[in-house]
């Protein structure tokens, strides 16, 4: 396996009295494409969010590129996410008030890119995902699949080292899902980016180099 990029050791996370993760340990290599699968409520999304530094585990450690990710302050984790990670959530989760191109350009503007350059890069990314004609549409005017393509463009626009995707094809039909996955994974391979995708769909998991199966908060 390539150089270890992520290492989780005994990660635990609970929501109230429900334990979502009960001591998960794993490693993910740089450039690896990993599918996290399992039934509903098995802790897939929680594991992805913990690896992405979105949530902090209550116990255990998460190491990214040799440094403790869970030890970083909220602001440091946020900056890391903005600069090195791309996140695609279920149903896109675009900012409803921004047009598609503005949504895609947002991470660049937050990194103080020039407005015109940010727009150019965003349009380029939308074109790559076959969504250029949607550039000026608001999220409310997009179908589930279109919104998901825009969300994928937003995740890819900064050229991230790691792409996290939570059920990226959940809102799509089979053909649309395949197309989106192909684009996402080919973009990742071009950039040697690692991909961690959560799915309960075996066909999606089949695209991965490795599958991690969770059940009741532990790796089965």
């Amino acid at each position: 396996m390539s150089e270890i990029q992520f290492e989780a050791r005994g990660v635990r996370k609970a929501y109230g009295r429900t334990e979502a993760l009960r001591g998960v340990s794993l490693t993910i290599g740089a450039g690896e494409i990993v599918a996290v699968s399992g039934p509903s409520g098995s802790g897939k999304s929680t594991l992805m969010l913990a690896l992405a530094g979105v949530i902090r585990p209550e116990a255990g450690e998460i190491v990214y590129d040799g440094a403790r990710l869970d030890d970083l302050a909220e602001a440091q984790r946020t900056r890391l996410r903005r600069r090195q990670f791309g996140v695609v959530l279920q149903f896109g989760q675009l900012v409803p008030e921004l047009t598609a191109v503005q949504n895609v350009a947002l991470p660049l503007l937050l990194e103080r890119h020039d407005r015109a350059a940010a727009r150019r890069l965003a349009l380029g990314q939308l074109e790559r995902l076959g969504a250029l004609d949607l550039a000026d549409a608001l999220p409310g005017e997009l179908s589930g699949g279109e919104a998901q393509r825009v969300a994928a463009a937003r995740a890819l626009v900064t050229g991230p080292r790691v792409i996290f995707a939570d059920e990226p094809t959940g809102a799509l039909d089979t053909v649309g899902g395949e197309r989106l996955l192909d684009t996402l994974l080919s973009a990742a391979r071009e950039n040697d980016a690692t991909v961690v995708m959560v799915t309960h769909d075996n066909r999606v998991a089949a695209h991965a180099d490795r599958e991690i199966f969770l059940r009741d908060g532990v790796i089965a």
Partner: protein, 448 residues
């Protein structure tokens, strides 16, 4: 049904009912003060602030006290919308359980009506406290200290008190119904009627009407000239205030659109786009700022007018200006409340979307900066335009004298109002900071 509405009103704690009652208590308290002032005889048998005691200026004072109800009413409109999402889910569940649309509307009205009625009755206590603190004195000791703004030898009649309580309660219920007029509750959830079109500058018509009224008031002659001129001037002020408030959504939308086109940073783009998408709620929260600017601008020109006339009794005319400034500061406190309540409601409504921004790497600092921009983009233009209007209308109407002095005072008023308005924005954003951080919590990614 009343019992059910009562349970629903307090289902999510006492916060919303207490705020509703608080707003209406202030409104009915101020109206009772106004009525008490209007009951004073020409020669009051108590020591009162000159503007209250003088029958010539008393009408204007009572009018000003009545206008002070506008900020708490705007705040009430915001508070009514607190917890909308949870309430709509409850009402949908009631529909599913067999409640008819009319019954749902009735439950909604009672839910708002109970705290509003309590507040209207509590207004009597507000009036009592104000009377205790600011009441006139009959001790005969003319060296006694304190500001005597409220008559103590007269009080509103019982039927006037009843009228205020019933009127304020109905007003509160009407405000509640207005807030929910775009919502249709079905057993499967809540749908909204077609989105409102982009706001139009209809408020400008009211402002034009206010100018016409004011100019007309200056030109009346005959035996009733003084009364007609006073009525015309007061009508013009009321129209101008309503005009500025009605102009707020259009101004919020226009400011948002102009800034969104040129936004070069994330927080500015987020703030401006929100205003374009939903200009009305933010505008309602900041609308009173326009009225504050209008009165502040008018007061600045009034001061110039008094200084220009160089009269011996300048002090008599300038003292009420200090009172006006205090009232404006109190109105600004209500604006801070309005802005804060609006922000909290907006944050609760959008917490999943905000949490997803956090997941993308948007820091809570960026979210707070966006909030500051959004609030400032609505409030500051309103404050500046209100001040310029107030100052100009008075200057080119009844006031005369040095233009340089007028210009200097207008600039001073602009700086003062803009500064205070910005402080109000900062205070409102600071107050809602815990809610902002809560909305950014990734746990919100799991909510429906």
């Amino acid at each position: 049904m009343i019992r059910l509405a009562w349970r629903l009103a307090f289902a999510h704690g006492w916060g919303r009912p207490a705020l509703l009652a608080g707003c209406t208590a202030i409104v009915s308290g101020l109206l009772l003060v106004t009525l008490a002032v209007l009951r004073l005889p020409d020669d009051p048998q108590e020591r009162l602030f000159a503007v209250v005691a003088d029958p010539g200026t008393r009408g204007g004072y009572a009018f000003g006290a009545a206008l002070l109800v506008i900020p708490p009413l705007l705040l009430l409109h915001q508070v009514v919308r607190l917890g909308t999402a949870a309430r709509e889910r409850r009402l949908a569940a009631l529909r599913l359980a067999g409640t008819t649309p009319a019954e749902v509307r009735r439950i909604g009205a009672i839910e708002v009506g109970i705290p509003v009625l309590a507040g209207a009755v509590l207004g009597l206590a507000v009036y009592g406290v104000l009377r205790l603190l600011l009441g006139g004195t009959t001790s005969g000791d003319y060296r006694s200290h304190g500001i005597h703004l409220i008559p103590t030898t007269v009080a509103p009649a019982w039927w006037e008190v009843l009228l205020v309580i019933v009127g304020v309660t109905l007003l509160g219920v009407a405000v509640g119904a207005l807030a929910g007029r775009r919502v249709i509750v079905t057993p499967l959830g809540v749908t909204r009627r077609a989105a409102a079109p982009a706001p139009r500058p209809w408020g400008a018509l009211l402002l034009a009407l206010a100018v016409a009224f004011g100019l007309g008031a200056m030109k009346v002659s005959g035996p009733q000239a003084h009364t007609l001129a006073l009525a015309g001037a007061l009508g013009a002020i009321a129209l101008a205030l309503v005009g500025v408030i009605a102009l707020a959504p259009w101004m919020a939308f226009t400011a948002g659109r102009l800034v969104a086109r040129r936004a070069t940073t994330g927080p500015v783009l987020l703030a401006a786009s929100r205003l374009v998408a939903e200009p009305r709620p933010a505008a309602r929260a900041a609308a009173a700022v326009g009225g504050i600017g209008l009165v502040a601008g008018g007061s600045a020109t009034f001061v110039v007018d008094v200084v220009n006339t160089n009269s011996d009794d300048a002090g008599y005319y300038l003292a009420p200006v200090a009172l006006v400034l205090v009232c404006l500061l109190l109105a600004l406190v209500a604006v801070v409340g309005s802005l804060a309540v609006h922000s909290v409601e907006s944050l609760l409504d959008r917490r999943r979307s905000i949490a997803s921004l956090t997941a993308l790497g948007v820091s809570s600092d960026t979210l707070i900066r966006a909030q500051r921009w959004e609030t400032g983009l609505v409030a500051l233009p309103m404050a500046l335009i209100g001040t310029i209007l107030g100052s100009s209308v008075y200057r080119f109407g009844p006031a005369g004298g040095s233009s340089i002095l007028w210009f200097a005072f207008t600039l001073l008023a602009l700086a003062l109002v803009a500064g205070l308005c910005w402080l109000a924005v900062l205070a409102a954003v600071r107050v809602v900071r815990p809610w902002t951080l809560h909305a950014a919590d990734p746990a919100n990614l799991r909510i429906e």
